[in-house]
């Protein structure tokens, strides 16, 4: 019963994410109009046969903007989670395995990061580094580090006690080699489960920053930006924010479902 349910989640979530990836991949084929440029003459037009999702306040086709936006949003989110996974896991494993002074120092650093609401930390870092797609990866990634740090540290603490790790040390393997060869491979499955949660959080952060006007700067189309562009006409021309918001929600939902399925599947207890 449990695996059936969780498999259903994995399939459903996986399907949604796959759809998004395909849309991002085959963007040029799916779009007729240019995603950038300007056509003020027919701005804010309701969805019609011609423009499936209507046009945005600058006269561009919303469907094309959203499709190309998926490329940037997914790329930034994957990169941000990448940054978070690498930093968080490495810090977590070294803290969990070495314990001692490093664990205290890293713990303190992570506490500081967790003392900020993640959106606030993204805002401050985003504005400090300046608005560029590359900096966005950092400003969204850094607040996600604590999530992976805690999981990695917990796992490293328990794996560190396992006999084969002590055996490896007794064989004369250096601490870092032991960590890399023995601790890391056995910590990865737990990190993998949290990965999908991280992805959901990252896309949500990109959209929220976009909404507050602190997201990816104007020319590069991203979901957060499209929402921000449509915001002034939210009530008179709701389709711009509506459809981009829907894409954001669907993608996050996909990742959450995938995360649930994975956790149920991997975690025998539930």
């Amino acid at each position: 019963m449990r695996t059936l349910l969780s498999n259903k989640f994995i399939m459903l979530g996986g399907a949604m994410i796959l759809a998004m990836l395909l849309i991002a991949l085959f963007a040029p084929l799916l779009t007729v109009y240019p995603y950038d440029g300007l056509d003020l003459a027919n701005k804010n037009q309701a969805p019609s046969l011609e423009h499936m999702m209507g046009t945005d306040p600058y006269g561009r086709d919303v469907w094309c903007r959203v499709v190309y936006g998926s490329r940037v949003s997914l790329m930034v989110s994957f990169a941000a989670v990448g940054v978070a996974v690498v930093c968080g896991s490495v810090l977590g494993i070294v803290s969990g395995y070495l314990k001692g002074g490093f664990d205290l120092a890293a713990g303190r650093l992570i506490d500081i990061m967790m003392a900020f609401p993640s959106l606030l930390l993204s805002m401050i870092i985003g504005v400090a580094l300046g608005p560029s797609t590359r900096n966005m990866c950092l400003s969204i990634g850094i607040p996600l580090i604590p999530i992976f740090y805690r999981v990695a540290r917990g796992a490293a603490l328990s794996v560190g006690e396992r006999t084969f790790v002590i055996a490896s040390e007794s064989m004369g393997s250096g601490r870092f080699r032991t960590m890399f060869r023995h601790v890391l491979p056995n910590v990865l499955p737990q990190i993998f489960v949290v990965l999908s949660m991280g992805m959901g959080g990252s896309i949500l952060a990109e959209a929220s920053l976009g909404f507050l006007g602190l997201g990816i700067p104007q020319p590069t189309p991203s979901w957060g930006l499209i929402v921000n562009e449509g915001k002034p006409y939210m009530f008179t021309a709701p389709w711009t924010t509506g459809f981009s918001g829907a894409f954001i929600a669907l993608t996050i939902w996909g990742f959450n479902l995938l995360g649930d399925g994975l956790r149920d599947h991997l975690d025998p207890r539930v």
Binding site: G37, L38, L40, A41, K43, N44, P57, Y58, V127, G130, P131, G213, L214, P217, Q218, P219, E229, K231, P232, Y233, M234, F235, T236
Partner: protein, 528 residues
């Protein structure tokens, strides 16, 4: 079984504690929030049919001390509270306000003002006298007031201010200043009460305004909400409104829905299509010719703009007509100069739009860029600048300029242009009614702080100096116009269009007037 119950009771007890804690937090928050500005007064019109005007804006000066006011256009509640010696009319002339009359000495070195009698300050700080006028001007020179008006008031030219009697003030100047009267009708020369300053000091001035205007300050939270109530012993005609409530809402979207919901009476709208929409729905539309110009600046010290041909090519690459038609729906005009038409001394018909992409391409080829040149356009990432920058980008592409857009936060933008590292930028430039500052800023010694276009040309400097020292208006006008023509020929700044915006009122609101200082005065406003 017994032990089990005890445990669960304890747990449920904790949940209750946690819930109560949450509510308590919010409970105690509740009442203080009540006092914090959204007092649950009953229906909107307070008892006894008090006439309340609800104004909304997306930004405001958060300090009430006049020394910190930076621009006329943003003022909304301040004009109702403070007054100046003279009132600037829309035609540029000045008429009596706190000063009943004034005369200038034949040699133009002394101005004598005869003050109105019985003009009272708010909050019982007594009658306005010449002492207050002297204090209001001289405090701008005191470094720790942090005043930014010493320059705009040209105080360095004022040798002394005499107060022979409580109702007469004499300003002695070192050299004649043709626009002295205009300076005395600007927001930088607001008259404040010396007695009030002695009582509440600088901090007090920042949080509570004390003026002589028709409405007096009545509490509020800066950056959130402020209220002003009718001033009983106002010297002039008593205002019809009882109270003005003035709210700051950053999200323009929310301002519109609140206005359409009838929760606001007066709002300021920057988007032309929104204005047309409201016009169609029968709201009353009032155009404010703003002191702002939409322009694109070029830094003549940076490549590729050092080459005159490239700048010329740029001038042929921009089509202002598209902006006027598509962006501003014909409500704005091509300024023809870098000083807004409503400002004094503005040269308005010198520059002619010369949109000619072919010519631009040819010029670029001559300048050594046969297959186009890569340039960067810096602009602020607010809703206003997005559309124009995209238009500039697409237009320039046709003439061989591949434009990379850098839409950045205001602080970052200013850092770039003031640092002299921005090659090309787009901005709404604001100029006070007196154009002296704007003309003066492009002289060499202001580079790069204010002179972002990198023009360091001695001829222009000389012409500007000549204008500033002119003793008669005709001389000043001639010199300034010559200077403007020279500057425009340098092709370092392309003014695209004038930029005004609208204030829109509910149909039942009447009498909101616009003075020469481009601020909305509600002396005669009424909620019908």
């Amino acid at each position: 079984m017994q032990r089990q119950n005890k445990k669960i009771n304890k747990l449920l007890g904790f949940l209750a504690v946690f819930a109560v804690l949450g509510l308590a937090l919010s409970g105690c928050g509740g009442n203080s929030a009540e006092s914090g500005g959204n007092a649950p007064v009953s229906a909107d019109a307070a008892p006894g049919g008090e006439k309340v005007l609800r104004v909304a804006r997306d930004w405001e000066d958060t300090s009430w001390d006049p020394v910190t006011f930076t621009g006329a256009a943003q003022l909304a509640l301040t004009p109702q509270i403070f007054e100046t010696l003279c009132k600037l009319e829309t035609d540029g002339s000045s008429s009596p306000l706190l000063a009943e009359s004034w005369e200038m000495s034949p040699d133009g070195l002394a101005y004598t003002f005869h003050l109105r009698r019985g003009a009272q300050f708010h909050q019982g700080y007594g009658e306005m006298t010449s002492e207050d006028v002297k204090f209001s001007f001289e405090r701008n020179l005191d470094p720790d007031t942090g005043s930014i008006h010493a320059e705009t008031l040209n105080l360095s030219n004022v040798t002394s201010i005499e107060t022979p009697d409580p109702y007469t003030v004499v300003f002695n100047l070192a050299s004649p200043d043709v626009d002295f009267i205009t300076r005395c009708s600007q927001y930088s020369s607001i008259i404040v009460s010396r007695a009030a300053f002695d009582a509440i000091g600088l901090e007090g001035f920042a949080s509570t305004p004390v003026g002589t205007g028709p409405f007096a300050y009545d509490g509020g939270t800066p950056g959130v909400k402020t209220e002003a109530v009718r001033f009983a012993d106002y010297w002039g005609a008593a205002p019809k409104l009882d109270r003005i409530v003035y709210t700051i809402i950053t999200d323009s979207n929310v301002i519109y829905s609140a206005f359409e919901n009838g929760e606001l009476d007066v709002i300021f709208v920057y988007y032309q299509d929104k204005v047309n929409e409201y016009e169609a729905q029968g709201y009353s539309i009032n155009y404010i010719p703003s002191d702002q110009l939409l322009y694109v600046g070029l830094n003549a010290q940076l490549d590729p703009w050092t080459d005159m041909k490239v700048r010329e090519a740029f001038f042929h690459a921009v089509d202002p007509q598209y902006f006027l038609d598509e962006l501003f729906y014909g409500n704005e005009t091509f300024p023809g100069g870098y000083i807004p038409p409503i400002s004094k001394y503005a040269l308005t018909d010198y520059l002619k739009p010369g949109y000619d992409p072919a010519r631009a391409k040819a010029l670029l080829a001559e300048a050594g860029y046969p297959d186009g040149v890569d340039v960067t356009l810096w602009c602020v990432n607010d809703e206003l600048s997005t559309a124009p920058s995209l238009i500039v980008q697409s237009q320039l592409k046709e003439s061989g300029f591949n434009v990379e857009l850098q839409m950045v936060d205001f602080g970052v933008f200013i850092d770039q242009v003031r640092g002299g590292t921005a090659g090309m930028w787009l901005l709404y430039n604001s100029t006070p009614p007196l154009a002296d500052d704007t003309i003066n800023r492009y002289t060499s010694d202001f580079y790069p702080g204010s002179n972002w276009v990198g023009v360091t040309d001695p001829v222009y400097d000389a012409l500007v100096a000549e204008g500033l020292d002119a003793s008669t208006e005709e001389e000043k006008t001639a010199a300034f116009e010559e200077a403007q023509r020279y500057f425009l020929d340098l092709k370092a700044l392309y003014p695209i269009s004038t930029y005004g915006y609208h204030f829109i009122t509910q149909p039942n609101v009447t009498g909101a007037k616009l003075w020469g200082d481009l601020a909305l005065h509600l002396n005669e406003a009424d909620v019908g």
